[in-house]
């Protein structure tokens, strides 16, 4: 089970807002810390992994909970 240091809920927001908000959250996160991102935008299932890869972030885990998409994203050390 992955532990999150910060949680960002983007429920209800459409593309491109989830990644824009996630970027801000990651910028303020210390290296090595983990962000839990919650999204309802269905595009985020593909968008978040692509976004994380481009930023050099590690996608530790992703899944679906109660119709919401959950991602655990780690900022590199």
């Amino acid at each position: 089970m992955v532990e999150a240091d910060e949680v960002l809920d983007t429920s209800g927001l459409s593309c491109p807002m989830p990644v824009l908000k996630a970027k801000k959250a990651m910028d303020s996160l210390a290296p090595g810390k983990v962000l839990k991102l919650i999204a309802t935008d269905r595009g985020s299932r593909n968008d978040i992994p692509a976004w994380a890869k481009n930023n050099g972030y590690e996608l530790l885990e992703s899944g679906e909970e109660n119709g919401k998409f959950i991602f655990y994203i780690k900022k590199p050390e």
């Binding site: 491109p16 990644v19 824009l20 970027k23 930023n55 050099g56």
Partner: protein
């Protein structure tokens, strides 16, 4: 380290000034910037309206000769006064309902994340637009050679 790699780069020529055409370049630019890409937007012809102080809040979508509207309007009705305003209102309402940010919000987010904005000097001269008519987001006004120089080593080049 990932940081030491050369950043990916995207350049977009923004040539259209309708409400629907304003979204794709701004969404792609803000998203690419959030992926740590270097992004350059080159506004030319009607695309300049998107960053025109007097016009950017009033971009419109016309139903006439536009068979792709969510509610198709016959051209003979689309030509009536007020139909463009109505179609624009409908689209703005749709975007708001979908929680899509406004054009203004997207411009601000792009700027905040370091997206570069350029005006096409030739079209500005031809259409009588000065740099003062444009939002202060503009980094420079360029011609074709200036744009090509920036775009020559981009990973993604788009014309919208």
């Amino acid at each position: 380290m990932a940081e030491e790699k050369k950043k990916k780069k995207m350049c977009i020529i923004v040539s259209k000034g309708t409400l629907d055409a304003a979204y794709p370049p701004l969404i792609l630019a803000s998203t690419a910037a959030s992926m740590d890409w270097e992004v350059h937007l080159f506004f030319t012809f009607y695309g300049l309206d998107i960053i025109n102080k007097k016009k950017y809040k009033n971009l419109k979508v016309a139903p006439i000769a536009n068979p792709a509207m969510p509610m198709p309007v016959p051209n003979i009705i689309g030509m009536l006064p007020g139909m463009t305003a109505m179609a624009t209102m409908m689209m703005k309402r749709m975007m708001k309902k979908g929680n899509v940010p406004s054009v203004e919000e997207l411009i601000n987010m792009c700027k905040e994340m370091g997206v570069k904005f350029y005006g096409c000097q030739m079209t500005m001269d031809v259409m009588g637009i000065s740099e003062d008519d444009l939002l202060p987001v503009i980094d420079a006004c360029l011609g074709a050679a200036g744009y090509l120089d920036i775009a020559s080593d981009a990973d993604v080049n788009l014309f919208i």
